[in-house]
């Protein structure tokens, strides 16, 4: 993992060496294209599914990164936007209301509605920062979940805790991704075609996030994160720019949610609890807040690591002690928690922070006196 990270970092550092650059990107593209086949062949479909979820989490983490990493607004209810996107798909493409809208209509709508919810969340929190903002956003996330849980009476909209099932899979006309697609020479299994779709969406979101980071609005977000009063004095309308951060982050969540509903073909409020929000936040912080490659890395790691622990916890105990002493399910969360603690203790700026952010943290740690260096923007 670390070697790949170093390799990628070297890539991005030498944009002038065109040939090497081009070749490396081509290799990366080839690897990404071949990955689902390799994973399916080597580890089976379970891991391919996990990989697909990892891509969804990459989108979520990048969305939250806009709010937390770029604009410095601590959002603990981010999963609500994922829920909005997912339920919108579920309601517009399932027997629930007998609607079967196509993807090209639902996904943009989902992004838009989630963005609107982002503004709804942002508006009352404009004057809040840090802990206070965290509490309000946490409440918002829970409100959305509880609504979904209870909107089955007096009029049944969401089906309550049972959730909505038999949701339409992602489909292009009559071509459904839920069934293998016959390409003549070979067949594209459902999980693989979903992988390509998710990969495409994730790459699109990565591209958007990268462009936003280096732009007028990206600079304004960073300015607000650093010093809101100074940002105002620079002519930034902090209200609008903050709302834009909430809305933009939420749209990513809405898209990921829609894709989730189409992939899973089932949604229930259970999938959108507080723990999910916390997980996505962990991905952002652990990977390297504000640093796009780091956040992607964090999302992949935090999706794959618990699954990895789950799969090896049993066999390893078997071979060491001759029997399974601790339930793998609880052991995996224990190991996961331990890993989080260790990372935050030894790499407080995240596993793969931007060079700039690493310097910030080191400055804070090495300051002898409690200097006037602003502490982490959270």
């Amino acid at each position: 993992m670390k070697m790949t990270a170093r390799f990628l970092a070297r890539l991005t550092r030498h944009p002038n060496d065109d040939r090497v650059h081009w070749l490396a990107w081509a290799l990366l593209g080839l690897l990404l294209a071949a990955l689902p086949w390799l994973v399916a062949a080597g580890f089976g479909n379970t891991w391919l599914r996990i990989l697909n979820f990892a891509l969804l989490y990459v989108m979520l983490a990048l969305g939250l990164n806009i709010v937390v990493g770029f604009a410095g607004l601590l959002d603990m209810g981010y999963i609500a936007f994922y829920a909005v996107g997912a339920y919108l798909w579920a309601l517009l493409a399932s027997p629930q209301f007998g609607l079967h809208w196509p993807m090209w209509a639902i996904l943009p709508l989902g992004a838009g509605v989630a963005g609107l919810f982002g503004v709804l969340l942002g508006a009352p929190t404009l004057k809040l920062r840090g802990d206070y903002l965290a509490i309000v956003t946490l409440g918002f996330g829970e409100i959305i979940r509880i609504f979904l849980n209870n909107l089955n009476a007096p009029v049944n909209i969401t089906n309550g805790p049972q959730g909505i099932s038999a949701i339409d899979p992602v489909h292009f006309g009559s071509l459904s991704l839920a069934r293998p697609i016959d390409l003549g020479l070979f067949e594209l299994p459902s999980l693989v075609s979903y992988y390509y779709l998710f990969l495409f969406a994730a790459l699109l979101i990565i591209g958007i996030a990268m462009r936003l980071e280096r732009s007028r609005v990206g600079r304004a977000w960073a300015a607000i994160r650093e010093d809101e009063v100074a940002a105002k004095a620079c002519g930034i309308n902090t209200r609008n720019v903050k709302l834009l951060a909430f809305a933009m982050g939420a749209t990513f969540g809405g898209v990921a949610g829609g894709l989730f509903a189409g992939f899973q073909q089932f949604v229930s409020p259970e999938s959108f609890g507080l723990l999910e929000s916390v997980m996505v936040l962990c991905m952002v912080v652990l990977g390297g807040m504000g640093h796009i490659p780091g956040v992607i890395f964090g999302a992949l790691l935090l999706t794959l690591m618990p699954e990895f622990f789950r799969h090896i916890a049993g066999p390893v105990q078997q071979s060491l002690f001759g029997s399974v002493l601790v339930d793998p399910e609880s052991l995996r969360m224990l190991l996961f928690g331990l890993a989080l603690v260790l990372v935050m203790r030894y790499r407080p700026s995240g596993l793969w922070p931007s060079p700039q952010r690493r310097r910030e943290i080191e400055d804070v740690q090495h300051a002898d006196a409690p200097a006037d260096v602003p502490v982490s923007p959270m």
Binding site: A223, K232, C234
Partner: protein, 257 residues
């Protein structure tokens, strides 16, 4: 007679029981360097904050360039042509010097989030122009060599200069400097004085809060003196220096006995 650039009309502001500004009216002419002095706690910075939209005055209004300033809208104030620096430097500490100045351009740019994402040709041109102009401004204030250093790694004097460059990036007609020479040594102060004179020569008016009496008296065309939230005198430096109430405010009532 120079045209009037800024008029403060009967500005009052109090915090709880403390009246920080009492019915302040003053006039700043275009092209002037206008000094605002007074003992600590006299209300100078409060007046600055009211002017730049960070505070809402309880009464009164500012007229800038013949248009009333909208209160409580710092971004609009900047658009109308008023920029400021802060008494305790407020830079974007973890951004580079260049980025700091580029943020200052914000209100003058027309890219929006859509053109940022699509990277339209217009957007590319504007970004390039912004970067070029930011570099130029860093040259202008004399810290171009530090363009790619984080703002917090700059020396104190350079941070002051960077803050001025960032304010200039907003294309102001009036630049408000809140104690720019505070904490500077004689050398740095002399450099700052040159910089302020250069800015004035470029046609930007300056409103200056400063404790360094020599600097104020040497630089300013006119000076206003505040004491306990009241305007006690507004005139050319030579007159202000001899004004009995000014001497009293600074040295106590026994001083001119």
């Amino acid at each position: 007679m120079k045209p009037v650039l800024l008029r403060a009309e009967h500005i009052s502001k109090s915090f709880g029981g403390v009246q920080a500004l009492k019915d302040i009216s003053l006039t700043l002419n275009a092209g002037e360097v206008y000094g605002l002095i007074g003992p600590n706690g006299a209300g100078k910075t409060t007046l600055f904050n009211c002017l730049t939209g960070l505070y809402v005055p309880d009464a009164g209004q500012f007229v800038f360039n013949d248009a009333p300033l909208v209160s409580n809208a710092p971004d609009k104030t900047v658009r109308q042509g008023i920029a400021r620096t802060f008494q305790n430097i407020r830079l974007f500490a973890n951004m580079t010097a260049l980025e700091n100045v580029m943020v200052g351009r914000h209100a003058r740019l027309r890219s929006n989030i859509l053109s940022d994402i699509l990277r339209t040709p217009f957007n590319r041109r504007e970004e390039q122009a912004t970067e070029d102009m930011a570099l130029q401004l860093l040259h202008y204030v004399g810290i171009a060599a530090r363009a790619h250093d984080l703002a917090k790694h700059l020396s104190y004097g350079d941070q002051r200069r960077l803050e001025i460059a960032r304010a200039l990036a907003t294309n102001p007609r009036l630049l408000c400097l809140d104690e720019p020479a505070a904490g500077m040594n004689a050398n740095e102060t002399a450099g700052l004085r040159q910089l302020i004179e250069a800015i004035r020569a470029d046609g930007i008016s300056i409103l200056l809060i400063e404790h360094d009496v020599q600097l104020v008296m040497g630089l300013c065309d006119r000076v206003a003196v505040l004491d306990y939230g009241e305007l006690i005198c507004e005139d050319v430096p030579a007159v202000v220096q001899r004004h009995p109430r000014v001497i009293e405010a600074y040295l106590g009532s026994g001083a001119h006995a």
